[in-house]
């Protein structure tokens, strides 16, 4: 039996076992931007740009107090359509409408930064790369395509900041199959300038991603700080337990 048939046999054994077709585009490392200013800026970007189509239904607005914002600041700057500060970050768009308009329901983003982690990189790396690799593609209904998620349903929401870019593709010989050509990505071409320089845009996206990473587990900071104290305590406890044990066992001949 040929190897290809062997693969088929394994596939047949487990329904739903198919090869990954995503994640072939190499992910950039998301810069660490965990200072309070970056996170606050990220929260502002998130509420302005993401929270129209996407919800974050596990996230309560006033949890943003953990990022140094007061309830009044949250009310005055981040609440636009009559929500209360104790509400969850939900949206008005109904899933059925979203399906009709976009072809897919925009996923809830509460824990998306955790869900998108993989062997290729952290969830933050994924989001950082994804949000920066949109390009103009007139064959798509929205006019946009993406390198990380080919044929994505989401349009390039940040295009005014980044400007319009196209993807340059070159033809190359297929390394796996002789005589065939493959299209290979060879960089972006800026068609029109955005409001931000490329460096500024990267920084803004990094802030947004840092916020989404924080939002995926708001307790993570407390977790690590508490962890240091717990480990310190246990180290002392282990030392005492070790000495206590030794003092009993010295009599055992």
């Amino acid at each position: 039996m040929k190897l290809s048939k062997k693969i088929l046999a394994v596939l047949a054994l487990l329904p739903g076992f198919v090869f990954a077709n995503e994640g072939s585009f190499p992910l950039d490392r998301a810069p660490e931007r965990n200072d309070i200013g970056s996170l606050q800026n990220g929260a502002k970007l998130f509420v302005n740009y993401c929270l129209n189509c996407h919800s974050a239904s596990a996230m309560r607005y006033n949890r943003l107090r953990d990022l140094g914002l007061s309830e009044d600041q949250i009310k005055n700057n981040l609440l636009f359509s009559g929500e209360k500060v104790g509400d969850m970050m939900t949206i008005a768009m109904r899933p059925a409408d979203a399906k009709a308009w976009f072809g897919a329901v925009p996923p809830d983003l509460s824990v998306i930064a955790r869900a998108r982690a993989s062997g290729a990189g952290s969830g933050a790396d994924y989001l950082y790369t994804y949000l920066r690799t949109f390009y103009k593609d007139d064959t798509r209904p929205t006019g946009w395509n993406n390198m990380v998620v080919p044929n994505v349903a989401m349009p390039h929401v940040l295009w005014q900041l980044q400007g319009v870019r196209t993807a340059k593709m070159v033809e190359e010989d297929d390394p796996h199959e002789h005589g065939k050509k493959v299209h290979k990505f060879a960089g972006f071409e800026q068609v029109s300038k955005g409001q931000l320089s490329p460096q500024e845009f990267d920084t803004q996206v990094a802030d947004l991603v840092a916020y989404m990473n924080w939002m995926a587990e708001p307790a993570q900071d407390l977790r690590k700080r508490l962890g240091a104290i717990v480990l310190l305590f246990l180290a002392v406890f282990a030392f005492l337990a070790w000495r206590l044990n030794a003092s009993y066992w010295k009599d055992v001949k």
Partner: protein
């Protein structure tokens, strides 16, 4: 008839606590239970680090039950609410994130500790006569633990929860004739759904834990009846000193109380390091995909069970239709081997041959998927047979021929390799390696009656190996 009830009389000036204990002891064997099971339970004095994992498993069991009770207070076993309620616990419930991480990390730690506990038994022959029942109770506990983990993993209602359960329940549909109806009966629906979630919740929080606790109790009662084995595999009770106890034995309290306390503190350090600094453990303890809500319309590109099931899962995946020829040849060769080399009775050999013939015919006519499930089940169940497969004249690996150590090493490598491969997408090369490891895995057990008895064994001393601390 027993003796008439008689109240213990203590002097009037005896401490209140002593009087209270005497009052209880007259009515309930409190002191007797403590002394029998721990306080005056004499154990060999040469326990090494391998002997901590039993206590640790007990500790984790308690931690899982306590954290589980608190999670149940906030969790909603409802397909529409389950995923959200877990995030609610992570964000809105005070200290909910800590309780949840303790429970999710505890599940993986439970398996690490239990696998090490079983390795100890393998190294020192702790399952050998007269401890066969301890092993069988322990094995049943392990089965319960697997069921408990499987049912519990559906509850967060993430993508991996959902599709993992779907794949495993589908395995039952491979059973001829009754399979499809059986899997339907288990799910309570045509796909994994709210009905499945509710029954899995019931099994996870009530049914399995009850059985688990009973089995652990039986495991401990059997252990304290026959006494513990030790790294030298010597029956320490046979060498009694003037005080009526084995010369190489010490009371568990205070010696193993303090030793276990030290072990527990080291364990808690590692456990806490994971909880506070790596609760996902690189996607092995909490799988990334499970942060996406279950979606019956979207099959994830890569479905893998949690790491503790992957060695057995690999055996399942390795059973492809062309591997069946290897399995058939293996079964035939094994029967021939039994006829030539075994001292089993003529009758037993005939029975084995008849079973083998039925199996071979079955392998010719039933698809590989069925046999994958059979081998998957056998790879777990075969562990139960260890007390009767091991024919070594000594218990401990210390006095076995040196080459036995390599046999164990090869087996351990095959087991770990199967575990690793089970987490990966199958490639033709990986499948071949998994098939080789599957053969090694089963050969280790099936050929054990012969290899475990051969070679030059070292002399077993009368006293245990012990260097004072």
């Amino acid at each position: 008839m027993g003796t008439a009830f008689k109240e213990t009389k203590l002097p009037a000036d005896a401490p209140k606590s002593q009087k209270a204990l005497a009052w209880v002891d007259d009515r309930f064997p409190l002191s007797k239970l403590w002394n029998d099971q721990w306080g005056k339970y004499y154990a060999p004095k040469n326990f090494n680090v391998w002997y901590i994992f039993g206590s640790l498993a007990m500790l984790i069991l308690v931690l899982q039950i306590v954290t589980g009770i608190f999670l149940t207070m906030h969790y909603k076993p409802d397909a529409n609410l389950a995923f959200g309620s877990v995030e609610y616990i992570m964000r809105e419930v005070p200290w909910g994130w800590l309780v949840r991480y303790m429970h999710s990390t505890g599940a993986s730690m439970f398996f690490i500790v239990v696998y090490l506990h079983m390795t100890r038994a393998l190294l020192y022959g702790s399952y050998r006569k007269p401890r066969e029942l301890i092993w069988l109770f322990g094995f049943a506990t392990f089965l319960c633990l697997m069921a408990e983990a499987f049912f519990g993993y559906l509850l967060p209602w993430g993508q991996m929860s959902y599709w993992g359960a779907q794949v495993i329940v589908n395995l039952f549909s491979a059973i001829p004739v009754i399979g499809p109806d059986l899997s339907l009966w288990i799910r309570g629906d045509y796909v994994v759904s709210d009905a499945t979630l509710n029954r899995f919740f019931a099994f996870h929080v009530i049914a399995i834990p009850l059985v688990l606790l009973g089995l652990v109790a039986a495991h401990l009662i059997a252990l304290h009846e026959v006494g513990s084995n030790n790294p030298d595999g010597i029956e320490v009770k046979e060498n009694v000193g003037p005080d009526g106890h084995g010369v190489d034995m010490i009371p568990s309290h205070p010696y193993y109380t303090t030793k276990d306390l030290f072990g527990v503190s080291v364990f808690l350090f590692i456990y806490s390091a994971v909880i506070f600094f790596a609760p996902e453990m690189g996607g092995y303890f909490l799988e990334y995909n499970n942060f996406l809500p279950a979606d019956s319309m979207k099959t994830p590109p890569h479905i893998a069970p949690t790491w503790y099931f992957t060695p057995f899962y690999s055996v399942l995946r390795a059973t492809t239709s062309d591997f069946m020829w290897v399995v058939m040849a293996g079964v035939a060769a094994y029967v021939v081997f039994i006829w030539l080399r075994s001292r089993l009775s003529y009758k037993t050999k005939i029975v084995i041959t008849a079973i083998a013939v039925v199996l071979e015919i079955g392998m010719l006519f039933l698809e590989a998927k069925v046999w994958g499930v059979v081998l998957f089940g056998s790879s777990v169940v075969i562990l139960a047979l260890l007390p009767w497969l091991d024919h070594s004249p000594v218990k401990s690996i210390r006095y076995r021929p040196d080459w036995h150590k390599y046999v164990y090493l090869v087996f351990a490598i095959a087991f770990v390799a199967l575990g690793y491969l089970g987490t990966q997408l199958p490639t033709p090369a990986y499948t071949l390696i998994a098939q080789a490891c599957t053969l090694i895995y089963f050969s280790f057990f099936l050929l054990m009656p012969w290899w475990s008895a051969s070679g030059r064994f070292k002399a077993v001393p009368n006293r245990v190996t012990f260097t004072p601390h």
